[in-house]
Symmetry: C2
């Protein structure tokens, strides 16, 4: 059951802290999950949350450290000595410990590592720090259960009991040769249901999915999702087993990737939250707004160049926001579908077929919308049929062009190795605004001849 | 390692199918993962993929069935007898089997269930069909390992060997009382490291997170993510253990939820993919475009009512797309941040503080943009300072209002129990277009007095 953090509870804690009532605080927080304590600390001011952190025991604080927002964690770590940080890290698994060390300033990293008590643990952590954070190497942990293909099951079970002491959750038992090269796996089910006398070489499954240390994290996520894996072993260039990635790490990758695409589509260029500072929010939002403003200048210029039309057909200018909005909306729809398809690897077939399909789709949607527009603009707005027809033909053309831009710019970016999600949101609405207005007035000029 | 499906490979399969070369096909597909075969079948035409399905053995076809796109699966199932479908389902876990039965037409469901060979399995599946698909009950499977608190560890291990036969992956060992009420859990680590003579009541962990059958799926996802759980037991109203949910089911929930929010933000109202039919794509896209068009009518009306300004300040009309675009972009940014915050449960603090923050943020962003606008419109576009000032003041006002609308409409919808993601995308851009134009011309009228 989830614990709900109430305002009253926070106030209670703040009061205890201000009165230095350590025992009451410890009692109050004793049964609360570390993830909830981390959330509570996020609600407190810095001094209070540092106070809380110091009165809890290190098994719990290590897990809390992991769950904290990055800024809160940074503040807490600043207040700890290298030795104290090392004590926290000794409680954590290698991948989590490496992630925290990677956040420290360069100079402190060495100091903390030299204070780690468990030498094997320290070696593993140092090894993990070598890898890029967005690769399989950066995601993997060193904790795994592995057995030698030359052992008997009896030796295995004994060895595994020892290894399992250091492993939080046993996902798979990997089988390696004398050179530590990954050969296959033993399933937990096999472990529970096979007689202990059988030799390993007879029972192991010689087929096992694996990824290389250099495989990008989103690719690992895709493979694990596709093949429904709860853990995947990671091998180095020589095929040696160097770590494993578990599904809970992948959940974060999937969530982050989806959030990132969503934020790009909304014109936010960094991972920000509603509770971040005004400066951080501005940094994430302003660049896209400046881009949109510059695009706006171009549309002003364009309209200015068509100002001759104002004398005879001023209604045309009333329709520009409508045309621009339709172009923007269609472009965003098309680009979102393509970006999602590219992310899920589900875009197949030839580019030419896709072109034909987009044109047909736009013709269908555009024609239906044009009918509403002709009727509406005449009945509601009293516009002449001539102008109504002009606007309608423009609308259909604009929808076709906007959907083509929305479809093919992400595909093009993807081919060039650029994140296609960049081409959603403000980028696509701005370019489609401009194209839309240009097409609209060009067609109007052709038909109405001003 | 992932298998890459090439065009050549598909052509090869199509040729073998057309020549009825069953043995070659079986050999070709023997070593290919079911997820890959499902993907291949998605590329083939219906007759070919049904042919492929029939020549593979049922252990593989059952898994393939699960991985197929819903439409392809529907076609395959149509071609199978109730007995054949039941044979596939006997190979699957209860939750997966129930999901497939739920997709069948009502009449066929009973026929298929009555053909299931394993009576226990059939009972479990029927039980699962009672639950809503977007609740914990709809997500859970019946396969789990549970032990009675009154047993000894020795009895446990024996019982578990039997139970584990039916369970694909052992996540946790749950402890229940004589009434099947959930009391706690035994970890796999305990299993490997505890002596077999210990009584269960002494070793089990009496604290265990659980969800009710009625808990919504997104809530289950949030809890499992927050508390880093790989599996969570599901209890009924009386606290009895009725099933378990594993993290791989949650991965799909998280992905679907993120995709849905993304699609709503882009103005797509159903889960569609780039490869869906033109009709399906139109159904998902057209409603939002009609909404935007109707909003466009309002903006035309508004501009028409301000047409008096054209005589003296026609430049004002050149700036309408710019103002509308800025309003739309700011609104989408604000709403996206709030919608994501609401989804992650990370929106805290009072509404009044949020209001102040949004206004300050908009003032900062708006003022910076206004400076660029004044300079740019004078230098690049040769607009008079008077008009430049008017547009700039309007821009700041429009940005403030747009960000308030973008922030508070999602919060309001959320309070009313409506999905706040509905208020992103076309909805917010359209309403902000209209508000933006209204504010712009009202301010212009005030300053320039036309």
């Amino acid at each position: 059951m989830e614990f709900k953090i109430s305002r009253d509870f926070i106030t209670q804690i703040e009061q205890y802290v201000s009165e230095n009532r350590e025992n009451e605080l410890q009692a109050l927080l004793a049964d609360i999950h570390y993830a909830d304590i981390a959330e509570i600390m996020g609600e407190l001011d810095d001094a209070d949350s540092i106070y809380i952190f110091h009165i809890l025991d290190s098994e719990k604080t290590a897990e809390i450290l992991l769950e904290l927002d990055e800024e809160v964690r940074e503040k807490i770590l600043k207040g700890l000595s290298p030795k104290e940080i090392a004590e926290e890290l000794d409680e954590l698994s290698t991948d989590d410990a490496a992630d925290i060390i990677a956040e420290l300033p360069e100079g402190r990293q060495g100091e903390v590592i030299s204070e780690l008590l468990d030498v094997e643990h320290a070696k593993d952590i140092v090894d993990l720090l070598r890898y890029d954070e967005d690769t399989a190497g950066g995601l993997m942990g060193k904790e795994l259960v592995k057995v030698n293909e030359n052992w008997t099951v009896l030796t295995c079970v004994k060895e595994m009991r020892i290894q399992a002491e250091n492993v939080q959750r046993v996902h798979s038992i990997y089988v390696v040769d004398d050179e530590n090269r990954l050969k296959g796996r033993l399933s937990l089910k096999d472990l529970l249901t096979t007689s202990t006398k059988t030799p390993i070489s007879e029972v192991y499954i010689p087929k096992v999915d694996s990824v290389k240390v250099t495989t990008p994290d989103v690719e690992v996520a895709r493979i694990m999702q596709k093949y429904d894996l709860e853990a995947i072993p990671v091998i180095d260039e020589l095929g040696r087993l160097v770590g494993r990635i578990t599904i809970d790490d992948i959940v974060d990758v999937i969530k982050d990737e989806a959030d990132k695409d969503y934020q790009l589509a909304a014109g936010i260029s960094q991972d920000v939250e509603a509770d971040d500072s005004i400066i951080d929010l501005t940094k994430a939002r302003l660049p896209w707004l400046v881009l949109a403003l510059l695009g706006g200048f171009i549309s002003v210029k364009l309209l200015n160049s068509f100002s001759g039309a104002m004398q005879y057909h001023k209604e045309l200018f009333f329709f520009t926001p409508l045309i621009a909005a339709m172009a923007g909306n269609v472009g965003v729809q098309s680009s979102a579908i393509i970006v999602q398809g590219l992310a899920n690897n589900s875009i197949s077939g030839s580019l030419f077929n896709r072109l034909i399909k987009e044109v047909l789709l736009s013709l269908l949607n555009g024609s239906l919308l044009a009918l509403i527009l002709i009727a509406g603009s005449h009945l509601l707005l009293g516009v002449s049929y001539e102008v109504g027809l002009t606007v309608s033909i423009s609308l259909i053309s604009v929808i076709i062009i906007a959907s083509l831009i929305g479809t093919f710019i992400p595909i093009l970016l993807n081919k060039m190795g650029i994140d296609p999600a960049l081409a959603t949101g403000p980028f696509i609405t701005t370019s489609n605004d401009i194209c839309g207005i240009l097409i609209y007035f060009s067609i109007a000029k052709l038909i109405l001849g001003f």
